[in-house]
């Protein structure tokens, strides 16, 4: 038996002649926090919907927990907790009642006290009896996460879980995902536009664009973690550029302008660059580390 929790091969799906997913393949291993990236309309949600049998793929193979999704749908889905697109609940029911209804069809026996515990875990204690329609966006997301976790699933699929959340909410969700992965050994698939989030918490990722897999692999390997992208703001960027060309000819230039010099360089050599600028009487206004995934992502989808 392989350690793959998810194995998707050559997935295809069209809607009335439009090919939303042309050829998507990826694998997710046990205990991964797996980043699922792609621009709007890339086919992320369609792929995730196929994985949850919300829509039927035209071609391709989906295996979850080494089982064929179509043949073992109920068994497979009982091990998955998910939020797709956004958490939608019955507006006229309370948070607790909503969870109770979904728990009844979750395939596991979830007691009332466990439901109260999960509501407390996501920070909704005291709001159990409040109607869903009175909830803020952040509270709806938390309730969505509660329903995804209530039956103790092995795989958690979160589609844009931080959309619309305030900064504290984003940090809370990030910490929650890390906790689920590190402390409870859950496998998490995280689809997000928040590239910084993916970079911070995912260990593996796939990038898809125009319905096709562009690249898949370890985040560290793909981003080459020994290198960093840095942005320098100097009093004379022209002279700074010449110094870089002379002493650091192997750096990868990303953005050289009047205002900034942004380039990719080995982590260990950043101090050398600073020393070089200082020795040559350049005034350094700021040195800023930039997220590499953003550049990498843009480069990948432009290719």
């Amino acid at each position: 038996m392989s350690s793959n929790v998810v194995s998707v091969k050559n997935l295809k799906k069209s809607f009335k002649g439009f090919e939303a997913v042309k050829d998507v393949s990826f694998t997710v291993q046990k205990n991964d926090v797996f980043g699922f990236l792609g621009p709007n309309g890339a086919g992320k949600s369609t792929s995730l919907r196929c994985m949850l049998s919300l829509i039927q793929a035209d071609a391709g193979q989906i295996k979850l927990f080494d089982q064929d999704l179509q043949r073992n749908r109920s068994n497979v889905l009982s091990k998955i907790g998910s939020i797709i697109e956004k958490p939608d609940f019955y507006k006229y029911l309370s948070a607790f009642k909503n969870l109770e209804l979904l728990a009844r069809i979750s395939g596991s026996s979830v007691s009332k006290s466990e439901l109260y515990d999960i509501l407390e875990f996501v920070g909704l204690q005291g709001r159990e009896k409040h109607k869903f329609r009175t909830f803020s966006h952040g509270m709806k997301q938390r309730l969505g996460i509660a329903q995804a976790l209530m039956h103790n699933p092995e795989l958690i699929i979160l589609d844009e879980p931080t959309t619309g959340l305030d900064p504290q909410g984003i940090v809370d969700i990030r910490n929650l995902i890390l906790k689920l992965s590190k402390e409870q050994g859950k496998t998490v698939i995280l689809s997000s536009h928040q590239l910084a989030e993916i970079e911070l918490i995912a260990n593996r990722m796939v990038i898809i664009n125009k319905g096709k897999t562009i690249i898949e692999g370890s985040v560290n390997e793909l981003l080459n973690s020994s290198n960093m992208v840095v942005k320098f703001q100097l009093d004379d960027t022209g002279r700074g550029e010449k110094l870089l060309a002379k002493d650091f000819g192997d750096i990868r230039k990303l953005n050289f302008s009047e205002d900034e010099l942004t380039f990719e360089i080995e982590k260990m050599r950043i101090a050398d660059v600073v020393e070089c600028f200082v020795k040559n009487n350049l005034r350094i206004y700021s040195v800023e580390q930039k997220r590499k995934l953003e550049d990498y992502f843009i480069k990948m989808i432009e290719e």
Binding site: F15, L52, Y90, K91, L93, L101, I105
Partner: protein
């Protein structure tokens, strides 16, 4: 899983304010009819019986609970489908529009069990609505107007049914009304499977009822041949129970046709729902 989700569906139906519109409307409509007949019923009845008074003499109370139940059932059987469709037409499409169908379909419950539970819950709701109509029309009618012989005017003339020979007719009559309404409920759920908004299936159901009623009432040769197969033709089959003798074969034929409609609409709904892409 089917029974667990049927319970869920009933909880949702009970929690939705629109589920009570039917009960409220029936209470109001039947209440108004009963009160109006209590106030002016005698003059209304004498106006109807005036043409027979030269040939027949009427002894006893013609205006009684049995007559009221008959009048009410006749008046409402065409309108109650709207009240049923208001709830059942929303069972799938309302959830698709709200996004909750997506939440439900990601759980380990089969599509057939989801739809089956909605059909069961819809049938229970329809049964309760029919039961309420029976209670209001027959129960409250008897309480307000008392018991008596039932005089019914049908195509063969006047039929007089003794008071002690009526209750079983209403029992089966409301049973047939339930079957008719169940056919309407199944049709609206079937439409609901094809739609992602709440209003479409409800309006479509009513449009079909109105269209079939119009076709059923026009004596055009091409329509006459299809009239026996229309759902609406058999919605009035309960009236046959108040004929002497009771045309059992006609009633059985109506039951088979209504059952055929129910099975056909449910079959189409299952076929479609199992293939449906949930994109909302």
């Amino acid at each position: 899983m089917l029974l667990k989700n049927t319970w869920n569906e009933l909880v949702k139906i009970l929690a939705k304010p629109r589920s009570y519109i039917g009960f409220g409307a029936l209470t109001l409509l039947i209440g108004i009819i009963l009160l109006a007949m209590k106030a002016d019923g005698k003059s209304f009845i004498s106006f109807v019986t005036a043409s027979f008074e030269q040939t027949l003499s009427f002894n006893g109370e013609i205006l009684n609970g049995n007559l009221m139940a008959f009048v009410i059932l006749q008046m409402l059987i065409i309108h109650v489908p709207l009240l049923v469709a208001l709830v059942t037409g929303d069972l799938v499409s309302g959830e698709a529009a709200m996004g909750t169908l997506r939440m439900m379909a990601t759980k380990p419950i089969s599509r057939s069990a989801i739809l089956g539970s909605k059909l069961l819950a819809g049938a229970i709701y329809t049964f309760l609505l029919t039961l309420w109509m029976a209670f209001m029309a027959y129960g409250v009618g008897q309480w307000m107007f008392g018991v008596g012989d039932l005089i019914v005017l049908n195509s063969d003339g006047l039929v007089v049914l003794p008071a002690d020979d009526i209750m079983w007719r209403y029992f089966y009559g409301f049973g047939l009304a339930f079957l008719s309404l169940l056919a309407v409920a199944t049709m609206s759920i079937c439409f609901s499977v094809f739609s992602d908004n709440s209003i479409g299936p409800i309006v479509s159901t009513m449009a079909v009822i109105i269209l079939f009623t119009i076709i059923g009432s026009l004596d055009v040769a091409s329509f006459v041949s299809i009239q026996p197969f229309l759902l609406t033709t058999h919605m009035a089959s309960w009236r046959s129970l108040f004929e002497m003798p009771v045309p059992v074969d006609d009633i059985l034929s109506s039951i088979y046709i209504l059952l055929f409609h129910i099975i056909a609409f449910a079959g189409i709904a299952f076929w479609r729902f199992n293939k449906k892409d949930i994109n909302t």
